[in-house]
Amino acid sequence: MDWQALRLSLLLAVATTVLLLPVSIFAGRWMAESSFRGKILLEAAIATPLVLPPTVIGYYLLVGMGAHSPLGAGFSELFGRPLVFNFSGLLIASVLVNLPFAIQPAQRAFESIPQDVRDAAQCCGMSFWRSLWAVDLPLAWPGVLTGLTLSFAHTLGEFGVVLMVGGAIPGETKTVSIAIYDQVQSLNFEGAGSMSLLLLLISLGLLVFVNLLGRYAGRLHAYRNV
């Protein structure tokens, strides 16, 4: 078991999830409530990481954050180190790749709040923030949490993008999925097996949790069908 890689993976997953929390709430709510020209295009753009090969995403991120890109050059100027092949670059890549996992379930959850309930909140005199806190989040949190759980699970298992953007620098960018690959390459099937089993169990547990959330969300709105 490569504990260092596991710790790095968990750190990356937690940091990604924390950064995606406000993104999923605000982007999800905004996408649910607004209709504008180009919304379909924006939704498709957010969903792209679901269908593109990770190597292709990794390639674009590598180019976009490389030393010759404005972002990479700016980062290097500010912090004195490159953005790619270190943890910061990996975190940015991870957040971008997980946008659809975080935003889509949150958007669906906000969309499931009936328009007249939102209207009622406004007619009660609630401001944007109060309505978000007192009505929208209590009704949509299972969707938000589902998105964050999926992002967490997905980050733990991400391989292609991590390899492209981060390489496999121990303690910096070598995550558990890359450690498994390395173990197999060096024919250490026992080490690869124990880490794979751990990832399998974590993923399975998280998906059971997501399904339970889905059932709970169904009950939250149930009274309207009585």
């Binding site: 309930v117 009622a120 007619c123 005199g125 009704l139």
Partner: protein, 376 residues
């Protein structure tokens, strides 16, 4: 007089709105404090859109909305108050209770303008007023439709609104509950001093509860009047149709008889006596209406005492048995070969052996005939 140039009394709602799109609207409303104005019209006539505009949930293109001396919307001045800044009590069609909050907290949600320490007691008071004391800790999912409606009304009143807006408030409850809630709303209405606007497509509901009734069609307010007045004197054939009058005909003004205080109307071969309207020009073609309860059926075995009042004969064309009443259509012999609709008790229809093809004699009550003055 356009509504915005009328003097504004305190606790009065004045509305004048126009727009072409996305939903056409051309509406003028006035509702004084303590009055209930029913907006009636078929589905898609823009009733709910108009109500949402009053609430501040949609912004119309042009016009003015003022309430209680406060201007909520004035397109010319570029002034628009969003819903959360208007003191509006809004009861949506399906009540829109907050499903995650119990009854007490649903009601307290409407009390953000009050000091926090006063909210619980005020919510208890309101729940008592709508007969829901004891159900404070229930969630909306544990309430019947009627109870949900009362929570929605309590939440709307919790806002201490300047206007109460009710969108089809009885459509989501069963028939028996609805009858009971009519009584409760009528009682509650007496204790309220703000203007109330209720959207409904149910004319009976509007007749029962409203002080004023406004007929809306394709976003346009066609006529506003007291319910009985509106049914007795629709300003146009469209209004008559929209409020369910089926007996709409063409005729010709034959002349006036000032001594008898009546105007004579030629309808086919018949000469009908109608209420005296000297402003109508003899010889002019007009439309006229009579509600079906203004038509009296003559027993076939014994003539009725109203036999001399506008007696007409025709052939029964349609017989619809609707439980205790039977709806008949009698074919007249005017140039349009019109149908005259009337309801008779089903036992009477049976005893008189009314069937399609038999000859029927009816009288048109003079006072119930209304000639539509197309020049007004």
């Amino acid at each position: 007089m356009p509504v915005d140039s009328m003097p504004t009394a305190m606790s009065e709602l004045l509305v004048r709105l126009q727009q072409e799109s996305p939903i056409p609207m051309d509406a003028e409303l006035r509702c004084t404090g303590g009055q209930l104005l029913a907006l009636v019209g078929p589905s898609g006539s823009g009733k709910t859109t108009l109500l949402r505009a009053l609430a501040g949930l949609v912004q119309p293109k042009h016009g003015v909305i003022s309430c209680g001396g406060e201007t909520w919307f004035d397109s010319a001045a570029g002034h628009y108050l969003p819903a959360r800044k208007r003191r509006v009590g809004y009861v949506p069609q399906h009540f829109a209770l907050f499903p995650h909050l119990d009854v007490l907290h649903n009601v307290m949600s409407g009390m953000l303008h009050r000091a926090p320490e006063t909210r619980v007691a005020a919510a208890h008071d309101l729940l008592e007023r709508v007969n829901l004391a004891g159900l404070e800790s229930r969630k909306p999912g544990q309430l019947s439709g009627g109870q949900q409606q009362r929570v929605a009304v309590a939440r709307a009143l919790a806002r201490e609104p300047q206007v109460l807006l009710l969108d089809e408030p009885f459509s989501a409850v069963d028939h028996a509950t609805r009858e009971r809630l009519y009584g409760e709303l009528a009682m509650l209405k007496q204790s309220l001093s703000m203007p109330m606007v209720m959207v409904t497509h149910d004319l009976r509901e509007a007749m029962l509860l409203a002080d004023e009734m406004c007929v809306l069609h394709r976003g346009r307010t066609l006529q506003t009047d007291k319910p009985l007045e509106l049914v007795a004197r629709p300003v146009s054939a469209d209004v008559a149709r929209l409020i369910g009058i089926r007996n709409i005909y063409h005729g010709e003004i034959a002349g006036h008889v000032p001594d008898l205080e009546c105007t004579q109307l030629r309808f086919g071969a018949a000469m009908l006596k109608t209420p005296y309207r000297p402003e109508l020009i003899p010889g002019s073609r007009v439309q006229w209406v009579i509600p079906s309860d203004g038509v009296v059926f003559h027993r076939r075995d014994r003539p009725s005492h109203t036999e001399r009042e506008n007696q007409l004969q025709g052939i029964v064309d349609t017989v619809h048995k609707l439980g205790e009443i039977t709806r008949l259509a009698v074919r007249m012999d005017d140039e349009d070969r019109s149908l005259l609709w009337l309801d008779v008790p089903s036992h009477l229809a049976r005893r008189n052996e009314i069937a399609v093809g038999v000859t029927a004699t009816v009288s048109l009550t003079v006072a119930a005939i209304h000639i539509i003055d197309s020049t007004s």
